[in-house]
Amino acid sequence: MKRRKIDVRTLPAKAGNEVEDRLGVATPLRGIINKVFPDHWSFLLGEIALFSFIVLLLTGTFLTLFFEPSMKEVTYDGSYAPLRGVHMSAAYASSLDLSFDVRGGLIMRQMHHWAALVFMGAIVVHMLRIFFTGAFRKPREVNWIIGSLLFWIGFLAGFTGYSLPDDGLSGTGLRIASAIMLSIPLIGTWLTSSIFNGEFPGEIIISRFFIAHVLLIPALLVALISVHLALVFKQKHTQWPGPGRTNNNVVGERFFPRYTIKQAGFFMAVAGVIALLAGAMQINPIWLFGPYEAGVVSAASQPDWYVMFLDGSTRLMPAWQINIGIGNGYVIPPIFWPTVVLPGFLTMLPMLYPFIEARLNRDNKIHNLLQRPRDVPQRTALGMMAVAFFLVLVLSGGNDVIADKFNISLNAMTWAGRIGLLLLPPIAYYVTYRICLGLQQHDREVLAHGVETGIIRRAPDGRFYEVHQPLGHDHEELEYAGWVVPKKMNRLGALGPALKGFFRPIERPAEAPVSPGHPPIEPAPERREIESKH
């Protein structure tokens, strides 16, 4: 206390110690910093969803500052001249104000909408990655279920969100939603009138959707996303098989610094792409649709892309109405099957799939190594079957636009969709299955006979044959390991590696990687138990 001389170099350490004395963060922090994450481009897909969700929260909060969730009728007198004097709901008027009378409001609106599309897209692609690589297997079933739920909650978030502006397009969507709820046997009318507080559209649905969209659903999303991430952290990320990688370790980079830096950079990149999309591509120009009127609709009214598959299933459904002749008679309308029963199946089936597969394979083991799609042909084929089913539905959701643009009969498009929905998935199954087997076969061939060298030899008796470079020592056959097999000589280092660099080659070409994106691994001497075969 005699001399107060501050040594700047010791300040961080001192500050750290002060924090440590109070909070005791060093031990857990060491664990986090040292945590190893495996690296592969496909592991970033889920992060796109996470990052666009952050963009959604930020832009959405801005929008709530200006949006008025009310169906009270007002007369518009904002800047946008074509609608001046038109009667509309306060919700629609305030959405117009957000677009025209709030500085930078439109870019926020468009970023919010684009981020929602990216969010849902990333979720779907991420789920496909998880499915096709078998990352949902024990012990990660819970995270797979949470992920499927996140899709459907995101779906609800999207629907309640784009219904809020109360424009001509979203009002039509809302009416269809009310029809879907009405179609549910026994409780349909009660459910609908309870939600709309009377007959469609009532006067309160926008306020209810608003609180669902800005509080209830985001709270649920935040909660589930937190659990999702915590589980990834706790269970550690899966990894591809490869040199030095086993079911009992994680090979990759430590959380800090490289992994963190990549995450930060990737977040900014995702945000940047969303901003570019929002600036360059107009989305949901509500001022062109006009306010919602029950008697007005325009052709080509499509929902957002993640709702389109349900629109498609609704269009393809034949007019099969079930009449029940008890008492006055009861009805199950055809819209019930494609919009209530089908989504019900689509929710339950994926959630149960990990358990079904484990049961069929009598598999109770813990799996931390991913499988290449070709190595599990049945699963891959099933997945492609689902993708084909989904794609037919999505395309059918826009079949009127396709019919219009390509000058095809609309009825022909509907029939093509109906037939395609039944025919294409099995075809997709068969084709995928064969492709998987073919790819596997080719890998096995290389393991057995070696890499094609491109050298043709002529034997003394006149026969021609191609020289193969065996991979193992002394022509021993290598075991099939479920990982990338080198198929070109330069992958073996036998030829010069392909030069990298966009304008000119990079100084020192990378060594021939055994697993893409990674330098070869020499296992640490004291850890000899790691098998080198994988």
Binding site: I176, S183, K234, K262, G265, L276, G295
Partner: protein, 378 residues
């Protein structure tokens, strides 16, 4: 919690790991200390290789310049964003071309700003930092056996202590007493929201229902345009059509979302076909539609019986009405029965007449149920 697990796991597993690291030992480098610290978490840094073997090489300098340039571009685009945000004309004005560029310019500058921050960080991390491969042990299969037993025994002990088994009355009473509490929590939520869908017979009535006058008579509802003006037969030419609303206050508003109706003036021969089919009926209706038309005028509900969209695309040549939402098609000349698509029910027909003043009126409300189908529709 999860964090702590990772943190502590390293300690109890590693026998090869040195228990103490001398962080003040001048003989070891900082990297060696980092490596030793990583081992405490079961992490082995097996490969750590600088991207540039020789410091200050040409490539390193080039990479450094690239990253620096990216940061400078961030500044450039960021400044551009702020300047545009403040200075560019942004308010909507008829015919103002500059204003139209406001949002695209903001998006592009903001996007490039964020993208270059991202790329700069990514390049820094991927191209300048050393490459590394670390291996961490996994510890799957849950908690150690001892912990499992400890928790299990404790829980079992607690159950024992509560003594529900020894005192069954307690359990029964608690169950019986607490059961209504679930309803107590649910009641305010459900009870507040629940609304009878059949109040005022709302599912089966529209704005077209004749109004009972004070003097005991009934007033038929006029067909009006959106602005409320009534319509005479002469207002719609043959082959033409018009969306009409009930001539009541707010008849064209969304408060009467079931009422929009399509009034069609058929050409004479189509009109004859439609009339004949009206007489025949659909086979489903329990009422006669024989006299629902007025001359060659015919009126159907515009609200699709499938999902409630306005079925508004009328094809004159084929007399089909198409709903743009799910492409249900209705044949106007045959009781508007569905001929294609997912709709399973004809559009309800509005019985037409003309009043003393020569304006169209609805003879009664719709006889069939308007709009999307539901369970208890008779």
């Amino acid at each position: 919690m999860t964090l702590q697990t990772t943190g502590s796991n390293g300690n109890d597993h590693k026998s090869s790991v040195p228990a103490e690291i001398d962080y003040d030992d001048p003989r070891t480098t900082r990297f060696e200390k980092v490596k030793a610290a990583a081992r405490q978490d079961g992490v082995e840094i097996v490969h750590y290789e600088p991207q540039f073997p020789e410091r200050g090489s040409k490539t390193e300098k080039r990479m450094t310049r690239t990253v620096s340039l990216m940061f400078l571009l961030v500044g450039l685009f960021g400044t551009a964003f702020v300047v545009l945000y403040i200075a560019w004309p942004w308010r909507w004005e008829q015919g103002n071309v500059l204003m139209k560029w406001y949002t695209p310019l903001l998006g592009i500058t903001l996007g490039l700003t964020a993208l270059f921050i991202g790329f700069a960080i990514l390049t820094w991390g991927k191209k300048l930092l050393p490459r590394e491969v670390s291996i961490q042990e996994r510890h799957d299969g849950g908690s150690p056996e001892g912990d499992r037993r400890a928790v299990g025994q404790t829980l079992a002990y607690m159950v024992e202590e509560l003594g529900v088994k020894r005192r069954p009355l307690l359990g029964l009473a608690a169950a019986a007493g607490l059961a209504p509490v679930a309803v107590v929590f649910a009641a305010p939520i459900v009870g507040g929201l629940i609304k009878n869908p059949h109040a005022d017979n709302q599912m089966f009535t529209t704005g077209w229902a004749p109004i009972k006058e004070a003097n005991g008579g009934t007033r038929l509802i006029r067909l009006t345009r959106e602005d409320g003006t009534p319509i005479r037969p002469g207002d719609v030419s043959a082959g033409g059509q018009m969306t009409v609303f009930p001539g009541i206050p707010g008849g064209a508003s969304n408060a009467h979302a079931d009422s929009p109706t399509l009034l069609i003036h058929l050409r004479p021969d189509d009109g004859a076909v439609a009339r004949a089919n009206n007489v025949k009926g659909t086979g489903h209706n329990k009422f006669s539609t024989a006299d629902f038309m007025y001359g060659d005028f015919i009126a159907y509900s515009k609200i699709c019986t499938h999902a409630g969209c306005p079925a508004s695309l009328y094809e004159q040549q084929t007399n089909r009405l198409l709903c743009p939402c799910h492409q249900s098609q209705f044949l106007i000349t045959d009781n508007a029965k569905p001929v294609f698509g997912p709709a399973s029910r004809s559009l309800p027909q509005l019985p037409l007449a003309v009043d003393d003043e020569g304006y169209f009126v609805a003879k009664s409300d719709y006889q069939a149920t308007v709009g999307p189908d539901f369970w208890e529709r008779p």
